[in-house]
Structure formats: C-alpha cells, structure tokens
Symmetry: C2
Subunit: 406 residues, 2 copies
C-alpha cells in the first residue's frame, strides 16, 4: 500500500474515535488504585465521623452543668473516666460528672459538649471548671461530613491519594476500576540492534523501544516488547499471536513507501488499515488498523516522528480505553520565531517555552531525538493556518501535561 | 514529650535540610529508567547518525555526474543496486552509476549526494535524471547531530521517554541512577481498622494507609505498610526493626499531647527527635527525628493534617534523596475570599483554583478528606502575613504539580 493521500488530523481523530474501545472493569485492592479510574459511583457505607466526636482535648460534660461557671464562679465536677483517641468509655455521664477526652474521641453517653482543657484544673477526681459551654459545643456530630448512603465519588473519577482515602473512609478496601490496556509493542526493522559499543554497517540502535516504553509509563501503562525483521511472514505471525492476549498493538517502522516497508501491507492482509498517512509534521507516515478487533497503531521508525505520532494520535486513544478524557491544557505564548507551514497540515513544532514566549528547541530542523530532549513543549500550528509570524500569539502544550497525572 | 513550642516552617525546613540524606547510585536496565535520576553525565559512544545517511528517498549519485542535467538536458545513469532502510550496499558507486536508497539508508561508498526520486525516471537499469544536486546534498553526514564522545546528558537529569531514547542512541542499555528510597509506613492507633461494612464503638477506618500510599506513588515510590497499636514496646520494636532495611520511616498518629500519643516519646527513646510541632495549618503536630541514621517523619493521625504535612515537609526530602530539587511552580490568583491567619504560621488552605481566581474548597472548615477531594490546589498564606483579603493576589500550588512528573 502506498502513502499517496494524506488525511487531515481532524479526520484521523474522527476515525480513531469511531473505533474507540473502552475496556471492562476489574476489582482491585484499593492500595493499588492510584491513578486508576472508577467504574461506578461510590456510596458511603458509614457516617463520617462515625460517632459524635470530640473536636478538642478536654472534658465531655453535660453543658447545663457548666452554664454559670466562670473564673469568678468556679464549679467542681467529678471525673469518672479518662480516654484517649481510639478508646471509648463504657460509662455514662450523669449530672455533675465529666470524662476526659482527646481530640477525636467518641463523646461518651450522657455528655453533650466538650469543655476545653484550658478552662479546667484537675485534681485527682475533682475537676474545677472556669468556663461554660453550650450544648453540642466542640463536638463534631456523627455524619456531619458524610452521611451513610451518600454518594462520595462519581464514576470516571481518576483516583488520587485523597480519593483513595475517601473510598477507604466510605468502607471499601477494594475498588472497581477500568482495566488498563495491555500493550504489545512490535518494533520492526532489520537494521535495529540493542544499545552497545559497536555498530556495524547499516545497524541502527533500537531507541524506539525505550522512548515508547517511557511514553507508555507516562500513562501508567506497562508494555511487552518484541522485535520483528522486515519479513512479511514473521511480522504476520507476531501480529496475529498478539491480538488474543493484548488490547492494543503498537508497531514502529515500515510505514513509508520504500522497499522493505511492510507493516501497512501486513496489517491490510490480516485485518484492515483504516487510514495511512496523516497531514501532520512530524509524523506523516502513520497508520491505524484493526486486526481481530484489536487496534493497531503503526508508528514511523524515526524516533522523533514516532514520539510525535504517539503524542498526537495514540495517547488519547489509550487513555479513553480507561474512559479518561485526554484534554491537555494549552497555554498561549508569544512566538519569538517565524515558522512556515502548509494549509491542511498540523505542525507540532518541538519548542522551548518560557512563561511568556516560545521558540524552536533547536535552530536547525533536526530529525533526531536530541531536539525532544531540549524541548519542553509542542508549538501547535493548526491545519487552518499557513505558518506563524514572529510576535504572533500561539498555542503550546507542555510535554508534562500530556502525561496521566492528577 | 509535649508539643509546647512550635517552630516556623522555614526553621523546620532548615533542620530537614541539615539532615538530608542523598542515596547511592545503582545500575538499572534502561527500559526501567522512566523518571529515575541520572547519577553521572553521559557521553555518546557513537556518532549520530552513525553513517552518512540519506535524507530522502532517491538515488545516491556522484554529484558531479548530475551537474548539467535538467528537464531539457536529461542524462542517464546506470542503477547498480537498490537498498531499503536498514540495508546497505556492498557496491561502490563509480562515475555514471547510481544506487537507489530510502530515507535513512547509508549512502553507499563513492556516492556524495542523493538525487530525489521525483527528479528521476527509472527504466530497468537505466535512470533518467532531470535535475542536479551539489556534493553532500540530501545527506545527513555521520556525526551531524551527536559526535562520539560528546556529552549527551547532564547528571541529575530526570529521565523522560526522550532521554531514555537518547541514552539508547548513545549506546547504553543500562543507566546509573540514584536509588529510590525504600519507605516503611507505620500507621499507629488502637482505633484503626481496615475498611469494611461495620464499625464498632471507637473504631476508625485506617485511611492514612491509602492516602500515604497514593502520595508516595505520586513520587514514583512504593511502600511497605505496618500497623502498630499505641503500645510503647510494640512501636519501639517496629521502628528498630525497620531502620536496617528501609531508608525512611513515616509514622501516622501519636504526635499530639493526649494520653496514648506515644510516637514522639518512642522516637525520643530510641533515637533523637529533632523537632516536634510546626507552625503550619493544617498539620501542627508534626515531628521529625532520626533513629540509627534513618530519618523518621511523624505525621498526624488526621488524614487531612497528614496529607498537608506530607506535602509541606516530606515530599521535598524524599525527592532530594534521589537528588531531585522539589520546586513546584506557584501560580498567582485573585482570592475570592478573605481568610484570617496568624503571623508566624504558614497556612495551606485547601482551595479550588480556576485560571483567574481561588477560593476555599469548602465553605466550612472541615477536618476531613472530602475537602482534599474537592480541592485542586493549596492557597498558601506565608508566615509573614496575617491572613489575606478578598480580592488580594495570592499564591497557589496545584496539587498535580507536587508530583514527580516530567
């Protein structure tokens, strides 16, 4: 298959969206749920606080016993028990009695207020009180913050540490979340070798394996990596053997039109290529297909093109598999440089942005990964624009905002 | 030990800094290096490109053979070989000859330029050429982007996907990075139980275990969790048994002054408490100590206080153990609310920030974790300020910028 006609990025996204798979749920231990996505609403099994709770260190009392007390009118109560946080008292406070409590203690039966410690002097069983409290003063009533049965989290929430704590407080030690996609990466190319000290003839180090592993990690995903030579039968088998076990296949290399560029042809043969060639720069030779219902993202073999394709066309799909909407915040910056572009093509210029302005990451247009290291953002030139002028306000996306990070 | 005198946050940070431990290096597989921190500078073992590389699909030629050719002066060369990316030709181009190459191919010996395919018509072995190229045209020369021996990354770089790729391209399949701290969390409290459907008497669900696990995950760290009752001997043993195996101990609970608040006393007994009580809100009852050279962070038992303490006093230390400087970006926002504060105390108000303004996450001052769920940021009231006015420009930190995320 030849890369003859390029489709616009917007059209490529439409096709991806039409073929979006959203995975099922699975129940996992809550402690493993960081950055996972809730499948259902969560309702609390408990009131919070679960009991009338003292909000102060002091004495649980019957408020009416304190009403007229003051430094000039000291009353004396009888201390019948002392409890710390985590303990409770079996005793019931009767008229004239008090129980020492800590912040967080359950207020013992009979008590209806907590008198702060600083308004008291204790002497054995005797408690001199120098101040008054009104009923319910210094008590956080049961269910004040969360009522049993109350919805505490909405489905599709991405779980941060605080949501994990809230789910625990609601009485759940497990959570139902969307499955994470299992990803198979098949790096293609006869020329590829592992990193090492010597390179023979046309050998090229397989760096895509590492960049794509890193990009998947930035979405919280692991990957199983394989390598295929540019041999139709070998690649065909590797693809077909992966569709059962994995939710997504990503390939690199073999998406151009040169001799040996076989990936598109193989996918067309064993499944369907839905598009090949997108009007983006970098990353034009990108393909998307489906084999045995498994989506296959065909990236370029060029590291920077593959990264750009991943950022532009793959991240959104992978996140949506967990029902996460990918919508990285764009910032406006003044461009320090003029950059030409073609109408109909979307450019993702590797750029270095400050709080005010943006420019190319490198002076020269380099195809290599060093430019991605020097960049911190993409400067986006929309498909409806023919380049940008120096001094123009443009949109950028910081690389770190592409990651799954809440 | 009693929480009598509070030290300022700036003083607490000074003491933490004086007791900062930076861990040793370890050599790991490059594919596992995402968000790890380089221990040393990295120098490339290779030129990049590793050979003179064709930048176009076309024909490697001797430029001089093409000099006068044009659509009106078509010359004919002899095609002696054809190679795709990843392959190379053993042949040497002699005067009057050409070899077909793909983008990325090594330029065969003898050739000094690549003529783009569109200026040619091939017919068997014959290649009609309709254009001229100058020497070195359409060739990316060996070492153009990276020279062998060139420093490609500085020590202390946090590795993203592109740095992983660059290290691979430099010839390394492993990387020396700072060790990640091994963290032991000891949650204390007789009252704590696992999440479940029923709560008896003073029982409280152990939510700190989950929030702190989540916060550690946000720094790329795992944690080993234990639970101790409020028993001096039990806690002492758990602390002492952890100092050999772990780089950091974090405790929750037992840092106030109530009966049963034993953590500070235990650390004082088996090691040294360097400070206890910090003028921050929330999170005043925070302690820091050292036992057998192992730093011990003593957090409050209250989930929101513990989270605030972690964000304020623990993250920076843990990151610095890997030689990462923690400096989350602060944004300026207009406060929609007046918030009182005390001179000398730093407040971290759970807040909801938009692109323009900020307000409390909850109307009421709540001690519970729900407020952290509703918030997306901290509004910071510096220790040198007595509160903020409605309409005042204030500093906020988005929660997600507290995480390790590049």
């Amino acid at each position: 298959m030849f890369l003859t006609e390029l489709i616009k990025l917007s059209e490529a996204k439409r096709i991806l969206n039409e073929n979006q798979i959203i995975l099922d749920g699975e129940i996992i231990d809550l402690k493993d749920s960081y950055l996972r996505v809730l499948k259902d609403d969560i309702y609390s099994k408990h009131d919070s606080p679960p009991f009338d709770k003292s909000a102060m260190d002091g004495y649980a009392v019957i408020a009416e016993d304190t009403f007229t007390s003051s430094p000039n009118n000291i009353k004396v109560l009888k201390i019948i028990d002392r409890i710390g946080a985590g303990n409770y008292s079996e005793k019931t406070i009767e008229k004239g009695e008090a129980i020492k409590v800590a912040t967080g203690s359950p207020v013992p039966k009979g008590g209806n207020a907590v008198l702060m410690e600083e308004y008291t002097i204790s002497n054995g069983e005797n408690l001199e009180i120098h101040g008054a409290v009104t009923p319910s003063e210094n008590i956080a009533p049961q269910g004040e913050d969360i009522k049993v049965g109350e919805k505490i989290l909405e489905k599709n929430t991405i779980l941060r540490s605080q949501e994990m704590g809230l789910i625990a407080s609601g009485g759940y030690g497990k959570a139902e979340v969307y499955k994470k996609p299992l990803v198979k990466l098949i790096v293609t190319g006869n020329e590829l070798v592992e990193p090492g000290s010597t390179l023979k003839k046309a050998e090229v180090i397989n760096s895509n394996k590492f960049t794509i592993t890193g990009m998947l990690k930035s979405l919280g995903l692991d990957v199983e990596i394989d390598h295929s030579h540019d041999e139709i039968q070998e690649l065909k088998e590797k693809i077909l053997n992966s569709t059962d076990e994995y939710d997504v296949i990503i390939t690199t290399g073999g998406t151009a039109i040169s001799k040996g560029d076989i990936v598109i042809d193989v996918i067309e043969d064993v499944g369907e290529v839905l598009f090949h060639g997108v009007a983006i720069r970098p990353g034009k030779p990108f393909g998307f297909g489906v084999v045995n219902k498994t989506p296959v993202f065909m990236l370029s073999g060029y590291p920077v093109a593959a990264m750009g394709q991943f950022d532009t066309l793959v991240r959104e799909y992978l996140l949506k598999m967990q029902n996460i909407t990918f919508n990285p915040k764009k910032h406006k910056r003044i461009s320090n440089v003029k950059i030409p572009s073609s109408l109909g093509r979307t450019d993702f210029v590797r750029a270095y942005s400050t709080d005010e302005s943006v420019e190319h990451a490198l002076n020269k247009g380099s195809g290599i990964i060093k430019s991605m290291v020097e960049a911190n953002s993409y400067l986006i030139i929309d498909e409806n624009k023919e380049g940008i002028e120096k001094g123009e306000t443009v949109e950028i996306i910081y690389f770190e905002l592409l990651n799954l990070n809440k």
